[in-house]
Symmetry: C2
């Protein structure tokens, strides 16, 4: 199968609803800063009613990564599920508009497109409540073999370990990719996902995963270690490549006996960290698909992350391709 | 009737769909840069399909002004019409969330909430194609006397001169306001609106309007003058107060024999001029409602406009109240 995509991502198809919020608001709502939790339709409607003026933008962790790959000049496809409504149209439009392909499904029933309510506190931290809606109904039939087999890397969003049919879709994609000699990458997404599915994730990483993305909180949670350094020791020999991000402390890439430390690129003002990890993955996976060294991949990741945290919203607002050229990457 | 609102605005209830675009895109689409044109549902759907990745945010010129008044610590109400759909919920939510009141109507039929497709070119200029949808179905019954009579100023959006039932709603509001001894303000909105309705607008301004907002292009178009200075001479004696904006050249406030020149407040980078005029009106009308001098009102307008052009989106992202305090206003 010829290569059509640098990255084919499987993840929740979500529209983000982004509002500014105070620490007091999070406390009054009983929300843990920086967390992502799944909520039902009623909770979502109630919280939305109390949130501030918001902006809506296509999101979904893995889909943000596809947008980043496209901004770097690469090609991407996204597999997810939307409802037959205005937000579903917005999601598909935005993928099309960046030259990527929406290879997922559209529900025929009345389940609405999923949404992620994001409260951004003044320091730029985001706290997310996700009503999955249609996204949770992703199922194995939505994964088309021709999409997986024509992608350099299949990128899986850890959030999909939650809904059982989506987890089956996930397993199907990983199986197809391995059979076709394609790379499998996964992002751990969230500490609570890890708590719910630690054993399943550890087994999956050992047997299926070439590239593991995690931030400091996630990797220490996965291996139940007290420190980041212990987590680095723990991950060796499990994923072939682990790209571990640490916010302003940059990232560490671990592979076999090697370790590459990559500096973060400082920004004038951190406005909104939404999408930082997604864009790091975009830079890294684009570099990998184009045969760059692991250090180079990490630098592309840092660059993409620095762009996205300097404005509201989870996707690049400037051409990452031009930014890479300017940065000598 | 006690005063409940600094400003009650009547305007199109629209959700903005904002995307970055090149000059070449505008040319290929046959769009005149900086213009606003009304389009039908089919044209809107076609253009949207060709536009780039977009962000959705509540808009509508007069409603942006209400949002600015709220950000300054004032009170506002908005009268407009939305459809019974997700975008209509977004519009009402965002008004509620800023502590303002949505005093308009919700349609019961299937007409969708209106949307304004905004293509922002690299220098920050916006070109708008508006599908009015439900907004165009505003009618006199939607204007509640108690809202108009309890507002210091009724602020009318010139765009509403287009749909006949909305223009009747507009006339009803102006009549109620004058009878209650309240101020009537109007913004000319757009040069094409003026072309279509010059005589009606001139008559309305002469007989009903206390405060007229217009930019340079609009005021010279209204009075068919070759220069801005000639337009200043022409406007004297028609509106009691005319607040005329000139982008980076600031604004001029004309009243009787007096004239106040107000400097623009320079910004580091003009990102998106969407909402500049709306926010100027917000600062000005808030100042007027609070008994400030005309110069002070103009300075509040300049300040509010400078905030909104330094980011994407037509509404303030920082507290204008705090900004005013910092600026000694």
């Amino acid at each position: 199968m010829p290569t059509l995509y640098d990255v084919a991502a499987i993840g929740n198809a979500l529209v983000d609803v982004i509002a500014q919020a105070s620490d007091a608001f999070l406390e009054a709502e009983g929300l843990v800063k920086g967390s992502m939790q799944l909520v039902d339709a009623d909770y979502s409607a109630g919280l939305y009613g109390r949130m501030g003026q918001a902006v809506e933008a296509s999101g979904g962790s893995a889909c943000n990564t596809v947008a980043g790959v496209a901004s770097l000049g690469g090609t991407g496809a996204h597999i997810g599920k939307v409802g037959r409504d205005a937000l579903g149209e917005v999601f598909a439009h935005d993928l099309n508009a960046i030259g990527a392909r929406f290879a997922g499904g559209v529900l025929k029933d009345a389940t609405p497109t999923g949404r992620c309510l994001i409260n951004v506190t003044p320091e730029g931290e985001r706290t997310m409540c996700t009503f999955l809606g249609a996204a949770a109904l992703l199922e194995p039939e939505d994964v088309q073999a021709e999409v997986i087999e024509s992608a350099q890397t299949v990128f899986l969003e850890g959030y999909l370990f939650d809904p059982p049919p989506a987890r089956q879709a996930f397993a199907k994609a990983a199986g197809l990719a391995r059979a076709a000699g394609r790379l499998v990458a996964i992002t751990l997404s969230d500490a609570f996902v890890i708590d719910r599915h630690r054993e399943a994730l550890l087994g999956f990483i050992d047997t299926q995963v070439d590239v593991l993305f995690a931030n400091e909180g996630e990797i220490t949670s996965l291996y139940r270690t007290a420190t980041f350094d212990e987590a680095i020791d723990a991950v060796r020999g499990h994923a072939k490549i682990a790209a571990l991000t640490r916010g302003e402390q940059g990232s560490v890439i671990v592979t076999g006996g090697e370790m590459h430390e990559i500096a973060a690129i400082p920004v004038q003002k951190v406005v909104d960290t939404t999408g930082a990890g997604d864009q790091y993955a975009a830079g890294f996976l684009f570099g990998l698909a184009r045969g760059r060294s692991l250090s180079h991949c990490g630098q592309l990741g840092s660059m993409a992350a620095s762009e996205v945290i300097s404005h509201y919203g989870p996707r690049p607002q400037t051409s990452l391709k031009e930014l890479a050229a300017k940065s000598g990457l």
